[in-house]
Symmetry: C2
């Protein structure tokens, strides 16, 4: 049983976090979702959903799955050194790191994405490249796996990536079953990206 | 500007609520998501996400959009008369009602779905028919619109339905733009249901 530790912050994108949590949280006995934030307490998403979180410093997980959503809140957080340091600590103890949307830009500030292949939201792609030139950014990808780091394109792509992670961890049949139970049409080819050319 | 009042309860399915909230919450100036529950306070989803809610009795909305998710918690709530009565009051004041998954079964207990066409989760379809024989259940549908009541199939179908609702309310171009911004491959034909035959 692995904890799925999601790091939230004010202005996170609702579905970035709760799409993958839906996927992994369905696999009871394998994954246990836990929500944290830098200081703990109530965190409100960009769409006004207020959730309860534990302080990141009290998360005793190791060997966990770390989930980093994106959203408007990342724009200031990339410059918050204390937040980035706590994210680095959580990532270094993790067995796998999953980011959604601009969560990859936030995560890149830890330095742990340098030299790795990664993707991000297509509307914010130029920002990603500017913020983290040492990352090998891949524009045409629904999601990218490089070692134990999974990064996805915008918002709903996190669901596809989470199913891809389940496929790698527990087998393709399990991932397909979860998708069917969610009545979700899984975009299961990580390299097919209908939105790569949508934005300049 | 319309409130989107989501009625939550312990054991609600995470994505049932937060998929449509993601869609509608992106349309700032048009929709404002608000979370409530029968007694208010902290409510925890089937996947362990704890959210803050207002008491349903304090929701002063009228002309709002009512969103009713499904999930394991519906199995006992269908027999909770006080809850169903508060749901009926919220629904009667609403301009539109949207249900996801077994949220349609829960909503059917208000009597307001009787004689209407509706759908539900395909894995729970027999339960839906047994619980509410006065509803005209439609098995093969991603979502069903009957007047101002929208009901969707399981979990992720709520995202497609919410985009369908946006298309009806604000135009097809707006719905397509929101889907593209979410990098979501919208299953936009309400009658195409890849999961109708998945379960007996």
């Amino acid at each position: 049983m692995k904890d799925v530790v999601t790091v939230l912050f004010d202005g996170f994108e609702t579905l970035d976090a709760f799409g993958p949590i839906e996927v992994l949280g369905r696999l009871k006995g394998h994954f246990m979702p836990r929500l944290c934030s830098h200081h703990g307490g109530t965190i409100t998403s960009a769409q006004g959903v207020s959730v309860l979180t534990a302080p990141a410093s009290e998360v005793e997980a190791s060997g966990h799955v770390l989930l980093v959503p994106g959203g408007a809140g990342t724009r200031t957080l990339v410059n918050d050194e204390a937040f980035i340091e706590s994210l680095r600590v959580l990532a270094q103890r993790a067995e796998a790191v999953l980011t959604v949307c601009t969560g990859s830009v936030l995560f890149s500030r830890t330095g742990l994405l340098d030299g790795r292949r990664a993707t991000s939201n297509k509307r914010a792609f130029r920002w990603a490249v500017e913020e983290a030139p040492a990352v090998e950014w891949v524009k045409r990808a629904r999601w990218v796996k490089d070692g134990n780091v999974y990064t996805s394109s915008g918002v709903s792509a996190g669901i596809d990536m989470a199913l891809g992670f389940v496929s790698d961890a527990l087998g393709h049949d399990v991932a397909r079953r979860v998708a069917a139970e969610m009545e979700y049409v899984w975009n299961e080819d990580a390299g097919v990206d209908p939105f790569a050319d949508e934005y300049p």
